[in-house]
């Protein structure tokens, strides 16, 4: 298809329609509102429906209703709205309902501001609701990926029967880049388990309740097995000049693009820097990080927060290599110049060590 210049937030909606999504429920919030606006425009013209819900609490429960009925459904919001949705996300996960939730992140805590920040990492990736569950989280860093990962999100949601988040910072939502969309609309069939008001599916029940301890434990272990499978099969990342890097920068979203620029410049100066960009934040590319730890001497995590993803980087490394952090927040973006300075300092501090084989436990 002919590439078109389009905003990240709008690309999400077109990709969703092409993925066969036919239900949108949402409450406006900057910097995610264009998603609701585009959905209001396109869903009603393409055989779907759109409701501006009374709150994010209602939105997420509408999502629950539509997903129960077996249609592809989505919502979008930003920090404060995602906080409100967390109860519903727990129910969706518990009831094993597939759906897509887009989070265009902004500054917090509280009302914070509407400028981009990456401070929803904990509440989305590490989950913000009650119970033993996880959600899959995809982190686009371009407008093309806003489209592609939205499509993937619907497929993963169906495959793993779970809510899938597309989490992008305000910049990725607001910026425009050329996007090539799929040429065809996905055909979606009603799943066997759906409660769709037909004779053949009348006996179906969608529920998160399991009264007996043994039943609930069995259910939780079943959920856990799904997550373990995702950890084996669904991990995605981009490694850029990382294989022989002394310093591996780890960043996602808009920050990964700044870091890529920095890596190019450092390489131009003969300095061995690389970038690891997690595309799935859960499951996190732990094994890849451990593999890079065999050759790298230090990792540098760059985020638009005071350090949230860094916890996963540290957990992945299990103490193998030091991790340094550079972050800006409140709506400030780490500039190329700042990250360059940070990277140079880190490289200077850490003398590359030749790692002998027995030190490495992949």
């Amino acid at each position: 298809m002919k590439p078109q210049l389009i905003k990240g937030n709008e690309a999400v909606v077109k990709a969703a329609v092409l993925a066969g999504c036919r239900a949108y429920y949402g409450y406006p919030i900057t910097p995610a509102s264009e998603i609701a606006e585009a959905a209001a425009y396109y869903f009603q013209q393409t055989g779907g429906h759109f409701i501006q819900a009374e709150s994010e609490v209602a939105s997420v429960n509408m999502l629950y209703g539509a997903a129960s009925a077996g249609v592809r459904a989505m919502t979008a919001s930003s920090g404060p709205g995602i906080s409100l949705m967390q109860e519903g996300v727990s129910y969706l996960a518990g009831a094993e309902l597939p759906c897509v939730i887009v989070d265009i992140t902004r500054g917090g805590p509280g009302l914070g501001n509407i400028a981009p920040e990456q401070s929803d990492y904990r509440q989305v990736v590490k989950i913000g609701g009650h119970g033993c569950y996880r959600v899959l989280v995809l982190a686009p860093n371009s407008v093309q990926e806003m489209a592609d990962l939205t499509t993937l999100a619907f497929d993963l949601a169906d495959e793993y029967l779970t809510p899938v988040f597309v989490m992008a910072d305000g910049f990725i939502g607001q910026m425009m880049e050329p996007v090539t969309f799929a040429s065809e609309v996905r055909k979606v069939t009603t799943p066997d388990w759906a409660v769709d008001g037909t004779a053949e599916r009348r006996k179906n029940l969608v529920a998160s309740i399991r009264i007996e301890a043994d039943d609930l434990e069995k259910h939780i272990l079943h959920l856990d097995a799904k997550y373990k499978r995702a950890e084996r099969e669904a991990v995605r990342y981009e490694a850029f000049m990382a294989e022989d890097a002394d310093l591996v920068l780890v960043a996602y979203g808009i920050v990964s693009r700044i870091c890529k620029s920095v890596v190019e410049q450092l390489r131009g100066e003969g300095l061995k820097a690389g970038l690891l960009r997690p595309i799935t934040l859960y499951p996190f590319p732990e094994a890849k990080i451990r593999q890079l730890a065999r050759t790298a001497s230090v990792f540098g995590c760059v985020e638009m927060s005071t350090g949230q993803m860094i916890e996963d980087v540290r957990l992945s490394l299990e103490g193998r290599k030091p991790v340094e952090f550079y972050g800006r927040c409140g709506g400030n973006i780490p500039s190329e110049e700042e990250v360059l300075r940070f990277a140079r300092e880190v490289l200077k501090r850490s003398t590359p060590v030749v790692v002998s084989e027995e030190v490495v436990h992949g």
Binding site: A23, N61, Y64, N113, F171, D196, E212
Partner: protein, 484 residues
């Protein structure tokens, strides 16, 4: 032994045995004399009579009725506390042929779920709500409900409900009858056999309305909870009849079933092959790829000015024209607090190389449409870059940089002379093209035609482009003369 004739058989809409329940599969989990049991019966009967069992979806949120799915042989969705109306809304919208029941208690509907029920009713969702009002939180062991009578004791109103502390019992039918959309609101009771028969009619009617597609119907059912009330089943029924009905008058609060028109059916989906076109996605067939420039280019542009000067639009035209010319492009607006203060700026990149960061912190082109922008961004411009300022001359107090190409041209004034001061942004674009040769004219023409929908504005913008080119050309000529 006396012979009995069974007048009312167990409805087919109940499961024969309650397999989902686990133990004691022949009896319900409800306490003896509980109103939920009766309410279930009335609903099952009505479903059977209307012949809608296969189409029915029952939504049961948290409360003693959460286990409705043990009993009702319909599609079942168990929902979060208070959210049944939202869940039901979406199930119905997703499956317009289904019959969706939202079965809610008083804590559920009138406390935690107040927003959801109010808005579902206000949208006139074509669902049927059965609202079991027992004036107490049954499931959690007898706490104050929004419907508990003033003076009544509960575990969280140990001295009796005090209106100054807890407010008054909420009257849901009265409240919802203030809304325009609902078609049918009735309050019934399970206090006497006669009341139960009337309740049966209301339940059936509320479902029938949905079958006819008339819109939102709600039946409030005053219902005994002998266990928490610490009364015998008979005494509990008497309390419903005497005390509850006195606080919550029985009756019809809204009935527009006769005059209501069925909701129009949802618009049918267009054929799948038409959807890309509806989304504005064009086929790449026949598109001739633009010839790439013969040398690498990397334009890092910052456009800045007041809101209303068309800063973002100017950036978009540049990016769109770049795309048209076969280049890599990105456009990033400043948004957020800056927008409110009345200034606006955007980052545009146009180049031959794939774009890593779309942020432009060291521009090689600055289009400053006002003085504050010039002040703010001039120091960031890369040596050798271009700076175009909207004015007769560089304002006093701003150090002219010798290491960049600076031009002051009154874009807004030139646009004003064309009759539209707002086209100043496109005048500046004309000047930029003339001075830098950044993009071919055809690419810019294409971009403008794509982005500007009004023919009048398109013509103005074309004139503006020319005016910008002329002015820049004149400036260059002047400069050449001075240099000689």
């Amino acid at each position: 032994m006396a012979e009995y004739k069974i007048l009312h058989d167990k409805s087919n809409c109940f499961y024969e045995t309650y397999e989902r329940k686990g133990e004691l599969r022949n009896q319900t989990h409800y306490c003896p004399g509980c109103g939920h049991g009766n309410a279930h019966k009335l609903i099952a009967q009505a479903i059977e009579q209307l012949g809608i069992q296969d189409r029915t979806i029952t939504v049961s949120p948290v409360g003693c009725g959460v286990f409705a799915y043990y009993y009702l042989d319909t599609g079942n969705i168990q929902a979060a506390h208070g959210r049944a109306a939202a869940v039901a809304t979406a199930a119905k919208r997703s499956r317009p042929d289904s019959i969706v029941i939202s079965y809610q208690g008083d804590g559920d509907l009138a406390a935690i779920g107040t927003a959801e029920i109010l808005h579902a009713a206000n949208r006139g969702e074509n669902i049927t709500v059965f609202f079991v009002n027992n004036g107490i939180y049954g499931m959690t062991g007898g706490q104050l409900a929004p419907t508990t009578p003033v003076g009544a004791k509960s575990t969280t109103s140990p001295f009796g409900r005090d209106a100054h502390n807890d407010g008054y019992p909420i009257k849901v039918c009265e409240l919802l009858s203030a809304l325009e959309a609902p078609v049918y609101l009735e309050r019934v009771a399970l206090g006497t056999t006669k009341q139960i028969m009337a309740a049966s009619r209301a339940v059936k009617k509320a479902l029938e309305n949905q079958v006819k597609g008339l819109g939102f119907s709600l039946v409030e059912i005053l219902s005994p909870c002998p266990t928490i009330w610490k009364l015998s089943p008979v005494a509990a029924q008497e309390r419903v009849r005497d005390e509850m009905a006195a606080i919550f008058p029985i009756g019809v609060y809204r009935d527009r079933t006769r005059e209501a028109q069925p909701y129009p059916a949802p618009k049918p989906a267009p054929p799948a092959e038409q959807i890309p076109a509806i989304l504005g996605i064009e086929s790449a067939e026949g598109v001739i790829e633009a010839a790439k420039p013969d040398r690498p280019v990397d334009w890092r542009i910052r456009v800045a000015g007041f809101g209303g000067q068309g800063v973002l639009m100017l950036g978009e035209v540049l990016a769109e024209a770049g795309l048209e010319a076969g280049l890599e492009v990105s456009w990033l607006p400043s948004y957020g607090p800056e927008m409110r203060s009345g200034t606006s700026n955007c980052h545009v990149r146009v180049g031959t190389h794939p774009i890593a960061s779309p942020l432009v912190t060291k521009p090689n082109v600055l289009l400053a449409l006002n003085e504050p922008s010039l002040k703010k961004f001039l120091p960031t411009v890369e040596p050798g870059g271009w700076v175009l300022y909207n004015g007769e001359s560089i304002p006093e107090g701003i150090q002219v940089r010798g290491d960049v190409n600076m031009q002051a041209i009154p874009f807004t004034q030139l646009a004003d002379e064309l009759g539209e001061a707002k086209a100043g942004n496109i005048v500046s674009l004309g000047a930029l093209l003339e001075l830098t040769g950044m993009l071919r004219q055809e690419a810019v023409d294409h971009a403008l035609a794509h982005l500007v929908k009004s023919t009048r504005w398109l013509e103005i913008d074309r004139q503006a482009l020319k005016a910008g080119r002329r002015a820049a050309h004149a400036r260059e000529a002047e400069r050449a003369e001075v240099c000689q």
